[in-house]
Amino acid sequence: MKNVYLQSAVVLLLFAAAPFFISSFHITLLTEILILAIFALSLNVLVGYTGMVSLGHAAFFGTGAYSAGIIAQHISANMLITLFGAVLCSIVLAGIIGLFCMKVNGFYFLMLTLAFSQMVYSFVYQSTGWTGGSNGLSGIPSPVLFGWEIPNIVWLFYVIAALFMMLYAGLRIVVGSPFGKVLVGIRENEKRLKSMGYNTYLYKYAAFVISGALGGVSGSLYTYFNGFIAPSDVYWTMSGTVLIMVLIGGSGTMIGPVLGAAMIVILETVIATYTDMWMLILGSIFILFVIFFPSGIYGIWQDIVSRFQKQHIHPEAAKINKERAS
């Protein structure tokens, strides 16, 4: 993490160059990874930083996706409008659901978020007129940005990559800010934080709404990307998938969920081409991760880095421990 600006410049360059070096199918894949990475990042605010494990995050993804799609069909395909509408809808939804979910903790939180998202699902599923019900919503016009209809996947990729980088940077600032530190504090010991004078309820609620809003952003991007929305995007399996992405990437880290999203998308695509037993292989990989790399891909990455540098995350800590020991 020596130079953030250098790093972002490199990433920017890589993104800009990508379409010149890889096939359009791989650009599609990369775009999808970025969208789902935003989704995973948004969940990570809850799961990784605040310690609230949600199994209903698809509600916000789906809300974002459907509101973007419906607005594009009925009002305007202008990306600024659809995006704004999607974020607004998911913020409102997260605001309402959050009010209730703040009352419960742990597993009950997980199940309550699941309950609300399943209610959203059945609402979407049964509002056939607006959402197409079980058939999904199709025939969504392509997004328009400043009067310019995004013509193909490469341009869409650029738009999404730019948005991704902005959101990533923004989120990094937020989780590294004092606000983010309070969230981590809540994860570790909410009771103590209250004693310190923090209104933890407000912080958790804010985290929930931020997380929901970002979930909505990723959902609307998915709509631009696919031009189609299936009710399964709101279903609990979607919430499960994104949770797995966070866990397998490394919860409570910034890059972890991105790596997790990349890994799951790539694995599903690659394995499914060779065998229809992809669940067997994917499942085995999950198991191997738990047993051998419990801190996720991020943990592997850390191991490699520390092996190279021969030092730990907090060099001082190691030094002190050694000092005391001798």
Partner: protein, 230 residues
Amino acid sequence: MLHVQDLHAYYGESHILHGLSLKVEEGKVAAILGRNGMGKTTTIHSIMGMVARREGVVEVNGHNLISEQSYNISKLGVGLVPQGRRIFPNLTVKENLLTTQTNIKNGWTLEKVFDLFPRIKERQHSMGGNLSGGEQQMLAIGRAILTNPSLLLLDEPSEGLSPLMVGEVSDIIKRLKDEGITMLLVEQNLAMAKKIADHVYILNKGRVVFEGAADTFDEEVQQKHLALSS
């Protein structure tokens, strides 16, 4: 009875105990003293098999227990009053006492423990987690006694007890000693330690820096080994 030889213990990378040795004769009480963070609890935990990485010899009654699991060590007659009490919060007082009760024939029963600590008898249906600090300490002592140990490890048993109760606990420990239970006691309350122990060890940074009979532990030793500057 208890014989510790060249004990090393580690938490991950950090090496905490450096070749520690100590001995407690059958029916005697030895005290371990030392400032915070010197390795007293680590010593107790190593004997009890609760430190993941430990090397050396820990002999109880002639059995080397260095690589035993802690439940087996307990079954061989080693009891523990842990630091910080570690009461099971979701069990009632009575359950806390009875769940791990063993070797009932050796003499200690629920009634007898209740006689020692009438206060916890009053609270027997409360959840362990709802007790006051001192009550929990009594409960922790009672819980250990009910495993009917022949060697009892006490890690700061007087913490959180009122002066009156400190006196009573001292009496209880003496009584246990009279019944032939061997004890290893970690204490910060020096007065109490002096009163009970036959033998004293002082730890500093994982090493024994003083050992001697209780009466050789005087003001001077205390100044030398327990003052802040050391």
